[in-house]
């Protein structure tokens, strides 16, 4: 970690900050999530309300601290499902054969549906609930994780040390676990971060459209939506949840961008 560039350290700090918020948000919040604390609505930044108040006069800081839990947890669980599924299937496909053919064609179809459209059709059919959101996001981002894992694994599989292991008579499980996996963990971790960013953005977009997390629960995207009326007069209640999302996603991008061995040009 000592070799992390400055941008990477900023990214790491932001990501750690949001993990802490997600874990301990309610304990840190000065007010309750539904508590109306100000007679004025859409009030500006003040000492009492560092992020202003919302359309009902609730403390925005508290709303954001509570809301971040939804964003981070839903996105994390969906990403984890997508990446774990994608990697397992990708490694299986890297061995080639009909498994590879079948999975690749199947995921080609999923990838050909724009992700927002996919989510909208599912939500129209089943309604928006947190399990549906997690499942949909996981399905949408599994093909990408699959493709990444497959191409990384295939790259390693083509190397001589894997041929050497095959010639020795090693079975596929040994080759995948001992020869391939240790050489792809770095890039796969970066891929996890990248996909997490995509998931956060799509989830926030859905919630912003009112089709993601449903009231009374609210993630960061939903916070932007419920306060959109304040946009016309520049209320901080609209801006801060959006900035919160941005700081999480930019932080993650900065972090993975500066991971060793991943120097983008």
């Amino acid at each position: 970690m000592s070799r992390l560039a400055i941008s990477g350290r900023i990214g790491l700090a932001l990501v750690v900050l949001w993990v802490i918020v997600a874990l301990a948000g309610p304990a840190l919040a000065p007010h309750g999530v539904g508590e109306v604390v100000d007679l004025d609505v859409f009030s500006g930044v003040s000492r009492a309300f560092p992020l202003g108040t919302d359309y009902l006069g609730r403390d925005m800081l508290s709303r954001v601290l509570y809301g971040a839990r939804y964003t981070v947890f839903i996105a994390f669980v969906a990403t984890a499902i997508a990446v774990v599924t994608g990697v397992l299937l990708g490694l299986a496909a890297a061995a080639g054969g009909w498994v590879d053919m079948l999975l690749s064609r199947l995921f080609d179809i999923v990838i050909a549906i724009p992700s927002l459209m996919f989510a909208l059709v599912v939500i129209a059919a089943t309604g928006a609930s947190i399990p549906v959101l997690i499942g949909t996001l996981a399905v949408i981002y599994t093909p990408g994780a699959f493709r990444t894992a497959r191409s990384l694994a295939m790259g390693v599989m083509a190397l001589d040390f894997v041929s050497a292991a095959r010639a020795r008579g090693e079975g596929l499980p040994y080759i995948v676990v001992r020869e391939v996996l240790p050489n792809v963990t770095g890039p796969l971790a970066a891929d996890f971060g990248l996909r997490f960013v995509f998931v956060v953005l799509l989830l926030s977009g859905l919630s912003f459209l009112g089709l993601g997390v449903q009231p009374p629960e609210a993630d960061l995207g939903a916070l932007v939506r419920e306060n959109i009326a304040g946009l016309g007069f520049g209320a901080p209640a609209v801006l801060f949840p959006a900035v919160a999302i941005a700081s999480l996603t930019i932080g993650m991008n900065l972090l993975i961008d500066s991971l060793p061995g991943r120097r983008r040009r």
Binding site: L159, F161, S163, A164, R166, A167, R168, P182
Partner: protein, 596 residues
């Protein structure tokens, strides 16, 4: 000596590392090139030879910079020149012929457009005159179809031709100095001679001054007037070609010359009469199979091979002849579509999956690229210990002792066991690869170009080790290489492959007494000797060589290049001719072939 045309004085070139600190690539180099001479820069990879040569164009690769010293060509200082001045010098005063012309030609433009580009940029000729001159140069460089070749795109032309076309591009502006950067390294030995001859004739006829970068001393002997021996970015020795070849004074020059000199063949230990490995009629390829079960793209066709216990069989042929596929077939990595493989007379299943652990143990493979043959995430000790546990069920403690013994066997210190492959040099890695293969206690070692990626001096030491190991352990080798010198040094028998079929099998002594098959002849005649003047004595050959080797469905594949072809060659597969120490596949009689 007259005033030099080009001079490099106390040149220092540095690079910026990943972590931002400075790496010195060329600490302090001084040399000069006289007008009309060919100066060779020779050294192993990392010796700075290309970096120094490029500095004569005022150019440093991205990430590198010229940090000190002076560079002067034809009275112009390059180290202090502006970008504009450098542009007017490059391609005009100094021209460049790259190592891989296949990569250095733009795939989107016709060859002619690229060849005449320097003349048009520098305004030395108008388009029509430049095209006429280009065609003249094509003719001079012995290119087939000099009128039409310019209209083609780079991917439509063979590698050997592209290399000559690149020389035409360099010569079109009549530059004062031409830099040849390993221009024949990527070519097959038979093609290399054609290209070398064309270069030499053109350079001599036009009186061009040249700097010739290479790692191959016998190539240098043919083309250079003087040689600069480089190591670690410094000139170790600079002298005339004769002096460096026959009376080198510096230790490193001596080592280089010794490594390039023909080896006295090792005394072969007695070979048992018992057959170890037999291949009968092996056919292999890619791209699925036709309805008759033959592969769509045939790589190997009807291969018969036999290796006796303790015997070394050299397999030789140019790139694409199927020699690596042959090793992969024997190792069970590439399933043949037809034919049988026998180990000790019992059939060996075609793929790894169906072979028993003991069958697998007895045949071990050592790969060409030492860098990729070891898992970068696994320590040397663990890599060698794996076959011990896998084949011999050894526990951790006894494996540790055995790893130390194996490392000692390949002349590496036992302390290396805890290192990762990334911390090792190329030669060390290849020794670890050997140790890993030996850990299985095999009967047969498949060596696929095991020394060709190594620097000459290092390769020489690995070869010595292989010869010693054979003597100590009584191993049989299938030794695959494109280098005839290596085959001569190590093999008992030699199998010559051409376009996926056997051309000839001959004993080492038989080969020494003269090649018979026309292809073997061409091959042996194409290996440059380590003396000046050899190239001139070698007769010119047909241009068909440039077409490359392709397997023909009917008749002899060597037909298009064969000087002795008769009518039957086109229609029928060549029959096998048997003489006491050789088997030749040819339509002509042994007497005709031997010139008796």
């Amino acid at each position: 000596m007259t005033a030099p045309l080009a001079r490099i004085d106390h040149l220092r070139i540095t690079a910026t590392g990943e972590d931002g600190c400075e790496i010195v690539i060329v600490p302090d180099a001084t040399l000069s090139v006289a007008p009309g001479e060919v100066l060779a820069l020779i050294g192993e990879s990392g010796s700075g030879k290309t970096t120094i040569a490029l500095s004569l164009l005022g150019y440093a690769r991205p990430g590198c910079q010229i940090a000190g010293g002076t560079i002067e060509v034809a009275g112009q200082r390059l180290d202090t020149a502006s970008a504009e001045e450098l542009r007017s010098i490059r391609g005009r005063t100094v021209a460049y012929v790259a190592q891989s012309a296949a990569a250095a030609f733009n795939p989107s433009l016709t060859i002619m457009a690229q060849v005449i580009e320097p003349a048009l940029i520098h305004g030395t000729l108008d388009r029509a005159a430049a095209e006429t001159k280009a065609k003249d140069l094509f003719r001079r460089l012995a290119l087939p179809d000099p009128e039409g070749v310019g209209d083609r795109y780079p991917h439509q032309v063979s590698g050997g031709q592209l290399q000559r076309l690149m020389a035409a591009m360099a010569l079109i502006t009549d530059p004062k100095l031409v830099i040849f950067d390993e221009p024949t390294t990527a070519l097959d030995v038979t093609t290399q001679i054609e290209v070398l001859k064309a270069f030499k004739d053109a350079v001599r006829d036009l009186g061009t001054t040249a700097v010739y970068v290479t790692h191959d001393l016998s190539v240098v002997a043919q083309i250079a007037d003087r040689i600069a021996v480089l190591k670690g970015g410094e000139v170790q020795e600079l002298g005339t070609t004769e002096q460096i070849l026959f009376a080198p004074t510096h230790d490193y020059s001596r080592a280089l010359v010794a490594a390039a000199a023909p080896r006295t063949p090792a005394v072969a230990p007695a070979v048992e009469e018992k057959p170890l490995l037999d291949l009968w009629g092996v056919v292999a390829g890619y791209g699925g199979t036709n309805h008759d079960g033959s592969p769509r793209v045939k790589i190997l066709d009807g291969i018969d091979v036999s290796i006796r216990r303790g015997q070394v069989l050299g397999v030789i042929g140019e790139s694409g002849c199927g020699k690596s596929t042959l090793a992969r077939v024997v190792a069970g990595l590439h399933a043949p579509t037809a034919g049988r493989i026998l180990l000790d007379g019992t059939p060996l299943p075609p793929v790894v999956r169906r072979r028993s652990r003991d069958e697998l143990r007895r045949v071990q493979m050592v790969f060409q690229s030492a860098d990729t043959a070891l898992n970068p995430a696994v320590s040397v000790g663990a890599a060698i210990a794996r076959p011990l546990a896998f084949y011999h069920g050894m526990d951790r403690a006894s494996a540790r002792a055995e790893v130390a013994r194996l490392l000692d066997l390949v002349r590496l210190p036992a302390a290396l066991a805890d290192r990762l492959p990334g911390e090792l040099s190329g030669g060390q890695k290849q020794r670890v690869n050997l140790a890993r293969a030996l850990a299985a206690r095999p009967d047969l070692l498949l060596c696929d170009e095991v020394t060709s990626a190594l620097d000459p001096v290092v390769a020489e030491a690995v070869l010595d080790l292989l010869i010693e190991l054979r003597r100590e352990l009584g191993l049989a080798y299938m030794f695959i290489t494109h280098d005839l010198e290596i085959v001569r040094a190590i093999s008992d028998d030699v199998l010559v492959l051409y376009a996926g079929r056997v051309a000839e099998r001959v004993t080492r002594d038989g080969l020494r007494h003269g090649a018979h098959h026309p292809y073997t002849r061409l091959l042996t005649a194409s290996v440059p000797e380590l003396r000046p003047g050899w190239l001139e004595e070698t007769p010119a050959r047909d241009a068909a060589a440039a077409g490359g080797a392709r397997m023909r469905d009917m008749g002899c594949s060597f037909l298009p290049r064969c000087p002795k072809a008769v009518d039957a060659c086109a229609a029928e597969m060549p029959p096998m001719l048997i003489e006491d120490d050789r088997r030749i596949f040819c339509h002509r009689s042994v007497d005709t072939l031997a010139g008796r």
